[in-house]
Symmetry: C2
């Protein structure tokens, strides 16, 4: 089910030479579910390039409500804002999918940004994608019903876990979507009754990916399109 030797797509974009040097400054780490990689206000010590793992960035509002503002897997990285010269986080970074990642010290990453023009360009483009997807998510949270948002979120999670089956509870989903747990249960029940998903005690399986995409709002497809358009070729006039 789970593909082997998953790599990081940002690193894949780099020329072999730049990638090798970057990886030379990285160490492989195994991230565990629930691990906190950063808290708001902290100085950012390390950056992460997930390969098998993925990380939720969660915003807390009024110290009670919460909402996920980004989901970072092997298509991205944690700590990209360092490229903007700011070394603090505004949000919580929580490991949602356990697995491997490359870790590099913030200082080394900044130094690498200075040495590799290709790296800078990729990170810049990735930041742009993140902004675009954040805009999309803002609209999604405002206009789309829980069931559509849940479907979108499950698809995003499946993509980043490289599997149609993964672990996540209704409680956790509620936390990420900024709704009540009961709201998730209702939406999940609806999706299940349509045979799009199956689940039991935190073990979720996507049964019909195509139709689940249909049940999700267009934001899922829009996110994918944005990523492909900005981060994949064709390269135009340089950075």
């Amino acid at each position: 089910m789970k593909r082997e030797s998953v790599t990081n797509r940002l690193l894949d974009e780099l020329p072999a030479r730049d990638r090798e040097r970057l990886l030379g400054g990285c160490e492989p780490v195994e991230l565990e579910f629930g691990e906190i990689l950063a808290e708001p206000g902290e100085i950012l010590r390390d950056v992460y390039f997930p390969t098998g793992s993925f990380v939720s960035l969660v915003l807390k509002v009024n110290n009670e409500a919460s909402l996920e503002v980004a989901l970072v897997g092997n298509e991205g990285m944690l700590g990209a804002p360092l490229a903007l010269g700011v070394n603090t986080k505004q949000v919580h970074a929580v490991v949602q999918g356990p697995g491997r990642a490359w870790r590099m010290s913030a200082a080394r990453f900044r130094s690498e940004l200075g040495s590799s023009r290709a790296l800078l360009q990729v990170i810049h483009r990735y930041l742009f994608v993140r902004v675009s997807q954040l805009e999309q998510t803002a609209g999604c949270n405002r206009f789309h019903v829980v069931e559509e948002r849940l479907a979108r979120y499950l698809l995003m999670t499946a993509d980043r876990s490289h599997s149609d089956r993964f672990r996540i509870t209704h409680e956790f989903l509620a936390y990420m979507l900024g709704v009540r747990r009961v709201g998730v249960t209702r939406a999940a029940t609806a999706l299940r009754s349509r045979k799009l998903i199956r689940y039991a005690r935190g073990d979720i399986t996507i049964l019909d990916r195509k139709r689940l995409i249909g049940a999700a709002c267009g934001c899922y497809r829009a996110d994918l399109a944005t990523y492909d358009r900005i981060l994949a070729p064709p390269r135009k006039s340089g950075d």
Copy 2:
């Protein structure tokens, strides 16, 4: 009411030498209400540094609903993502407050970014602020009621128009907040009955700024704090 000789705060951050050279590449323009400066998918031709004017960035969802994702006045600029090497917009840029702005060609701006380290740093920090405020807005749209959001929005507009009195209709506010016009009317009526604002046919006046801040959600103050923390001194280790 309206202060004279309003400048742009990003430009103000630059050393005099860099600012002068940048302004040398700019021309002053007078932006009119409703003018469209950019549409999604277009190639970005010019960047703008508003001084007296301000511009709404509006996201369209499903070609029907709409939502403002940023409000750019003399505290910011339009076209900052060029610094990320991407020259297209995802959103609509509509002039909401008429007035002056400095305009510069996208090409020249990119060239200036290469020549002025101070400029690059300021733009980078501004981008970070925009991301943070976007995250805040995403949460705001999800959790806060229309009345709070309206109060916040009026305060933001007042700040950028450098006046407690400005023109904006309920219809337009509804468009920006992503709610029905009737929803705005109800919220506005409530604020008026509390003597926080006064309005008639698109002519809005903030009567009690302090208490209006109290009526707004904390997102307004949070945005201001983020801006001051990131863009104002103290400068730390470099970009």
